[in-house]
Structures are given as structure tokens and as C-alpha cells.
């Protein structure tokens, strides 16, 4: 995030000097006055200059890419990030694909994707916090739908999603063939969501989650007829 602190005799002067340094216009910037100027004795002694902080307004996508790139740089990796928008369940989702040397992947992904999950969570927190500040400071109309960012590296999440979808299909096939519910292995909420979403399009099975975290798991239940489905859902 590009941000400078500037001083001036007046607030306007300080803002102008900051805008020149950033190379942007007033409408592209967010201004925060840190200190109002104070005239000193005879205009000479004990006066204080105006102090302002000026931040360049970024789109959520730019902010997310910049934050992620800066974090990874401080982890020791110079990376490129490609932003790929995707429509998912009516929500705006942007995939941030980290392009990096093969050797960086184990560190960026982490065990079972733990580092990717942490990076993804932080990206969303930071961008939404900044978007929230922006809306309250400038009275902008809210942008409507919030954007959710998915952080991926080396296709890890795409492969994981494909594997989960195959697992869901296999469980559904077994449930339908046997006429009995089939329980999947315990998995985190994000993974369970992939299973539920994938099987929602099938009318011959329904899904529920049972158990307590971290042992919560998806159960795939075959639907015998409409009446039976109702009974299962009530249960």
C-alpha cells in the first residue's frame, strides 16, 4: 500500500506535497490529518506544522495482490501473482495464483495447506479492513458484493478441490448402490463445503455434517424418494 506522511504550513499544503510525491490526484487518495497546524508565538516560536498521512486508493484486487506479494517477499520469495476472477454461488471470488519457483512451494503451501490458509485469511482480513475504512472515511457507496480472495500456489487448491469432488462422487455412488448413508473422513469446514456444494446438484443424494470439530465429517445419504428425503432432513 502506497502511503506517505507529509508536512506543510497548512493542511492543504501538506496534502499537495504528499500528492506530488505519490504522483496521484486528490480523488485517488485517502487523506488523514494527523496534526492540525498551530501558529507559534509571533508566528515564529513554538508553532507546529500540519501533518497528514496520504494513502493511494487501491481496488480490493490491487490491495490484495500488493499485500500478498509484500508478505511473500518478506518470507524471502520474489513472486508474481495472477488474479483470476470467478463467479461462485453468486459471490465474487478472486483466485490469487502465486507464481514462484518450484522450491518455494513447500514453504508457501505448508503442511496440508496450512500456510496457504493463513496467507488467505490474512489477505481477506487486511483487504476488508481497508475497504471498510475507505467506505467510512469517504462515504463511498458500498461496492455491493464483497470480494472473497482464494490464495493458491502451484495449483494446490485446484488439485485438492478436484480430489474432494472425486471423493464426493465415489461416496455418492456407494450410497446410491448400497441404499445406505456413507460417511466421509473428518475434514476442515472449507473442504466439507466443497463436498456439500458438489453433491447439491445431484437429486439422488443429500448431505449433512455430523460430529464436533475437528472430527466433523460429511455423511452422504441416498434419497429413496421425495418423502424419504423430507424425513431425513427433519432428522
Amino acid at each position: 500500500m502506497k502511503r506517505v506522511v507529509a508536512t506543510g504550513r497548512t493542511v492543504d499544503e501538506a496534502v499537495t506535497s504528499a500528492l506530488v510525491r505519490l504522483g496521484v490526484t486528490r480523488s485517488q487518495a485517502i487523506v488523514r490529518v494527523i496534526q492540525e497546524p498551530v501558529r507559534g508565538f509571533l508566528g515564529l516560536f513554538g508553532g507546529r506544522k500540519a501533518l497528514v498521512e496520504v494513502t493511494v486508493r487501491l481496488t480490493p484486487e490491487e490491495a490484495a495482490k500488493s499485500f500478498l506479494r509484500e508478505v511473500l517477499r518478506r518470507m524471502g520469495w520474489e513472486v508474481q501473482i495472477a488474479a483470476v476472477p470467478e463467479e461462485e454461488d453468486m459471490a465474487r471470488v478472486v483466485w490469487l495464483d502465486v507464481r514462484c519457483p518450484e522450491a518455494a512451494l513447500p514453504s508457501i503451501i505448508g503442511r496440508h495447506g496450512a500456510t496457504l490458509d493463513a496467507l488467505q485469511y490474512l489477505v481477506n482480513v487486511v483487504v476488508h479492513r481497508e475497504a471498510g475504512l475507505r467506505a467510512s472515511e469517504t462515504d463511498d457507496a458500498p461496492s455491493g458484493r464483497a470480494v472473497r480472495f482464494v490464495v493458491d500456489a502451484g495449483g494446490y487448491r485446484r488439485r485438492r478441490r478436484d480430489a474432494l469432488q472425486r471423493m464426493a462422487e465415489q461416496a455418492a455412488a456407494r450410497a446410491v448402490a448400497s441404499g445406505r448413508p456413507v460417511g466421509l473422513a473428518a475434514m476442515p469446514a472449507a473442504d466439507r463445503k466443497v463436498i456439500h456444494a458438489h453433491l447439491q446438484r445431484r437429486s439422488d443424494v443429500t448431505t449433512v455434517s455430523e460430529g464436533e470439530e475437528p472430527h466433523r465429517r460429511v455423511i452422504v445419504i441416498p434419497v429413496v424418494d421425495a418423502h424419504a428425503e423430507d424425513a431425513l432432513q427433519i432428522e
Binding site: 500500500m1 499485500f67 509484500e70 508478505v71 518478506r74 518470507m75 524471502g76 519457483p101 522450491a103 518455494a104 513447500p106 514453504s107 508457501i108 505448508g110 496450512a114 500456510t115 490458509d117 493463513a118 496467507l119 485469511y121 490474512l122 482480513v125 487486511v126 479492513r129
Partner: protein
Amino acid sequence: MTWHAGRAVWRLPARHQRGCVVRELLEFLAKSLVEHPDAVVVEEHTRGDAVVYRLLVHPEDIGQVIGRHGRIAKAIRQVMHAAAHREGRHVIVDIAE
């Protein structure tokens, strides 16, 4: 490139091997999360084999670096561990209440 734990690992340029980079990472994460970035302070000391980073923020910002159910703190620690692991070091992140 050298072998480490059975797989190839890129050795970092000399400037990356110093602890200051991991410390800068923590400072950057904290400053990105809080309302008062100027009040962010990171203290560093060693405890046995580990380097302990103590993060101090403005009292109003403690929630911003801990998060609901400690989720933000957990994410910060995960990213810090990943960065330090690369340098073969163990780090502990303390958040001052």
C-alpha cells in the same frame, strides 16, 4: 541450492539469512492489520534455540492482531513459522496484552 531434509532448498542471499527479515515480516503484518501502525513495536530476544518476537501494539489494536478466537494471531504465527523454517530457525511470537 543445497539439500535439506531430503529435498532441494534454495539458499537465501546473505541479506535474507539475518533474523531481521523475519522481524520485518512480523512488523509488516502487524502494521497492515492495525489502525495505529506507528505504535507497532517488535522486541526480539532469544530463548534457548528459539528467537522470541514480542509484538506490542496500540491498546485499541489488540483485537486486530488477535482476531476472533485468536484466528489472526494463529495465521500470523503460521506465516512466521514458515518464513523462519526456511532459515532453519524456530520462532515464537508473543503478543503483548
